[in-house]
């Protein structure tokens, strides 16, 4: 194969590969934090999704009702770890699966 043709083919592969990566199916993940004993909403706690391949998500904090929402989470068969922090102190961690485009988690009792 001529070198020029090889370079052109390589460029085409690069150009077509990047949009494919960005168009990976993404999901919205919603949940609610409640206290274990009295089922009160737990506001102001930092919530993160951690994945062995993707790293750590942009963190969010629970609102006045204890609710939190992530969007643009890549769907993947490998489970995510949902982590909840009281300040810098980890208080909750569990695996969640993001396989559908809208994941509504059951209430998390801390």
């Amino acid at each position: 194969m001529k070198p020029l043709l090889r370079i052109v083919l390589l460029c085409l592969i690069c150009v077509t590969a990047f949009p494919a990566q960005s168009s990976q199916p993404q999901a919205t993940v919603m949940g609610q934090l409640l206290t274990g004993g009295s089922s009160q909403p737990a506001p102001g706690l930092v919530v993160s999704l951690v994945h062995p391949q993707f790293g750590r998500s942009v963190p969010t904090s629970s609102d006045v009702y204890g609710r939190f929402t992530f969007f643009g989470i890549p769907m993947n068969r490998v489970p995510y770890y949902l982590e909840v922090y009281w300040g810098n102190q980890l208080v909750y961690r569990n695996t969640i699966y993001v396989s559908g485009d809208h994941v509504n988690l059951p209430p998390i009792f801390l």
């Binding site: 102001g44 993160s48 942009v58 963190p59 208080v91 909750y92 569990n94 801390l110």
Partner: protein
């Protein structure tokens, strides 16, 4: 001027420049213009009688003008930088560590299309929501306008948060991570997703 018109003008400038440079090379190749056929002061550019550039080779002018066509849109089309600003506040009667989240306002554009969406946006951040949070406290939201800041400082004054739950109501439930799984540290910056 619409965004699409602006984008078209930004793209057409470099295109003209590239055509000029390639055309110049072609004319040189065909022999229609030459670099060796020098004439005295063939091309002269003067700026306010202070800066004067003179060349004996007018063919060079084509290349210079062509390159200007490429460079100027590249400078004009550069996204504008948002100036840094400072948030100043004092929390009162908050026993837990306080954190701030900044949320930019949204941009709406009226779309007139038939199924296909191709819109170029130039985000302009001016209105920001500052959410003050602390674990166990009701979050507080303040809205600021960057263009109206005094000396680049957003002074939020005294911040009082209402405590709704205390730390002793929360018990730790931490699932262990298998040895073969490596997770990023809490201090790692967010690399995917968004939050609200």
């Amino acid at each position: 001027m619409g965004q699409d018109t602006f984008s078209f003008l930004l793209l057409s400038g470099p295109l003209c420049g590239i055509i000029m440079v390639l055309g110049g090379i072609l004319l040189l190749y065909k022999g229609a213009i030459t670099l060796s056929g020098a004439a005295e002061d063939a091309l002269s550019v003067e700026f306010r009688k202070e800066l004067r550039i003179t060349t004996q080779y007018p063919a060079l002018g084509i290349f210079v003008i062509g390159l200007l066509f490429v460079a100027i849109p590249a400078i004009l089309g550069r996204p504008s930088e948002t100036q840094p600003f400072t948030i100043k506040a004092k929390t009162v009667d908050v026993d837990e560590p306080v954190s701030l989240r900044l949320i930019a306002g949204g941009w709406n554009q009226n779309l007139k299309h038939s199924g296909q969406i191709i819109e170029t946006h130039h985000p302009y951040v001016d209105t920001l929501q500052i959410v003050v949070t602390a674990p166990g406290y009701r979050p507080l939201t303040r809205t600021i306008q960057l263009s109206a800041l005094d000396n680049g400082t957003a002074d939020l004054g005294e911040i009082r948060l209402e405590q709704t739950i205390s730390r002793d109501l929360i018990s730790s439930k931490i699932a262990p991570v298998p040895d073969h799984v490596q997770l990023d540290d809490i201090n790692a910056s967010g690399s995917f997703g968004g939050a609200q």
